[in-house]
């Protein structure tokens, strides 16, 4: 049996609250040891329900990125912005924004760079699931 305290699901509100405090929450699987982040119903690797809540390091490396110049309604005031996918030290990939002005000038050399993640609050928009705020994972280059 999984203990109640460990099995309690991390809600998205809790996940984003933690991110605003600089903490990245996720699960570690008791069956296969894999990490799952962002949280989901089961272990992302093996499907097991036996997962425990953990705080991840928040460190990872850029795998890919793009600077967006044409944004959807609700995001248009934020352009240009750079969306990146980061592979965390513990294995999962997460999506967020890279706080950097000249991503396109650096180009492919950004891939592999070390980053840390923290949350930043933005105004929500009409269709976003969280009606109070939009918390964006922000990646900062370590060096």
């Amino acid at each position: 049996m999984v203990e109640e305290s460990e099995s309690r699901k991390i809600t998205y509100t809790e996940y984003f609250d933690a991110l605003l405090e600089g903490k990245l929450l996720g699960y570690k699987c008791k069956d296969c040891n894999a990490y799952t982040c962002p949280p989901k119903a089961v272990c992302d690797n093996c499907g097991s329900q036996k997962v425990e809540r953990v705080e991840l390091s928040g460190k990872g490396r850029i795998k890919t990125f793009t600077t967006t110049y044409v944004a959807p309604v609700g995001y248009d005031k934020e352009v240009p912005y750079t969306v990146a996918m980061v592979e965390l030290e513990e294995g999962p990939w997460i999506i967020g924004r890279l706080e950097i002005e000249n991503a396109d000038e650096i180009g492919q050399d950004l891939i592999g760079e070390e980053v840390v993640v923290e949350g930043k609050e933005f105004p929500t928009e009409m269709f976003y699931p969280d009606k109070k705020r939009r918390v964006v994972p922000i990646f900062r280059l370590v060096k």
């Binding site: 795998k63 600077t67 110049y69 959807p72 309604v73 248009d76 396109d104 964006v136």
Partner: protein, 403 residues
């Protein structure tokens, strides 16, 4: 796997229809479906009462037209009051999922003859709403919060592809530009295409130097926002052979899916759901990629066509970009891709796209697609991608019954 392995009867296409793709400020979602439906119906040589059910694909009617629950309105509009009608939503794969469900229903004897199709109005909605509507197909919480858009998804894929296969991004972009040049060339030849008579002679520099949407993707790497409708009428092969001279047979279908891009990780550039769906379709059709004469691929972006051509087994992983540059995917090459112009040249009215691919394949196989004929084609295939690999559908059609 239950019913999937139960003996199925053969299914064939009776008729196909497609509106002109482009800007339709004066036609509703219902109007666009009805127009395509009647083109398909009028060549099917059946009576209206022969149609027993409707399978309709639409992605974002709520956001573009303030309309949901469309299937009843559609069946009423075309004079089929009261028959079972349903709407399928699977982003860009909506009408391909509808087609596959319709095919399975007829194959398993639930119905003898049904109508399938879709309609969408993204051009009329404008770029800002259209972009937000399309973005509803990414993970609503974790991908949307970063402002990820569809050009963004494929821009991420392009940079990952460049890194993984060690093709410098500038070099890869030149190869990607060939997809745009090819599909615009073919779209310019197709009277029903959004860009008919336009952009038929693009150069690599035109693609690379057009407006950057999501770096490195430029405007000419992207398909347009489109209004349009398409429809197909299918029936059991026995029924079809009784009423028309040249049925086109459904030989195999497959469907798969995936979670968000961040769950797929590096697999995103191998499009694993597409590998699964196409292998399902090949297995059912008892065919291999080598047997396919041409394919209508979901080229929502230039890099998307390249990734798809690899995942479907036409080229090795990492070799699709070279293949388009070397002419392999042009008409006359080893596997012509998108002779109708694809999404880039023909347009992409999302919920109508899947059945418009079926339209293009059927027209080719009947030797009726005279604008850009694939010579002696007997087997064609469609490939429709919904979202960021969230839904994937492949359908194989041929001029003969399954062997």
């Amino acid at each position: 796997m239950g019913g999937i392995n139960v003996e199925k009867r053969d299914v064939a296409v009776l008729g196909v229809g497609q509106t002109k793709f482009g800007y339709h400020p004066d036609k509703s979602l219902v109007d666009l479906f009805a127009e395509a439906f009647y083109e398909a119906f009028n060549e099917s040589n059946i009576e209206l009462k022969d149609i027993q059910a409707i399978y309709y694909g639409n992605f974002v009617g709520e956001m573009t037209d303030g309309s949901a629950n469309l299937s009843g309105f559609i069946s009423d509009e075309i004079g089929l009051k009261g028959i079972p009608a349903r709407r399928y939503e699977a982003a860009c794969a909506s009408s391909s999922v509808a087609f596959r469900e319709a095919y399975l229903a007829v194959a398993h004897g639930i119905y003898d003859c049904v109508a399938v199709g879709g309609s969408e109005r993204l051009y009329n909605a404008g770029t800002a709403i259209g972009t937000r509507a399309l973005a509803t197909a990414v993970d609503g919480l974790h991908e949307m919060t970063a402002g990820l858009t569809f050009p963004g998804v494929f821009a991420l894929a392009a940079r990952l592809y460049s890194k993984k296969y060690e093709i410098p991004m500038e070099k890869l972009h030149e190869k990607m530009a060939q997809v745009s040049i090819k599909n615009h060339k073919y779209g310019a030849m197709n009277p029903k295409a959004q860009f008919y008579n336009k952009f038929g002679d693009l150069k690599v520099e035109d693609v690379l130097k057009s407006k950057v949407i999501c770096s490195p993707l430029t405007l000419f790497d992207c398909c347009p926002m489109t209004d349009g409708g398409s429809a197909v009428i299918i029936a059991s092969a026995d029924f079809a052979e009784d009423v028309i001279d040249k049925p086109i047979y459904v030989l195999g279908t497959g469907q798969s899916g995936a979670g968000g891009l961040f769950r797929q990780k590096e697999d995103m550039i191998r499009a694993i759901p597409r590998k699964i769906a196409s292998e399902m379709a090949y297995k059912e059709a008892k065919l291999t990629p080598k047997d396919i004469d041409f394919v209508e691929i979901h080229d929502c972006f230039t890099i998307a066509e390249i990734i798809a051509s690899e995942a479907m087994g036409f080229f090795e992983y990492g070799k699709g970009a070279d293949a388009v540059e070397e002419g392999e995917t042009w008409v006359g090459g080893s596997i012509p891709i998108n002779p109708d112009g694809g999404l880039i040249g023909k347009g992409h009215p999302v919920g109508a796209t899947g059945t418009s691919q079926i339209y293009a394949v059927v027209k080719q196989l009947r030797n009726e697609f005279k604008y850009n004929q694939v010579k002696d084609a007997e087997i064609g295939m469609t490939d429709t991608l919904g979202g960021d690999f969230g839904t994937l559908v492949n359908i194989i059609l041929g001029v003969h019954r399954r062997g």
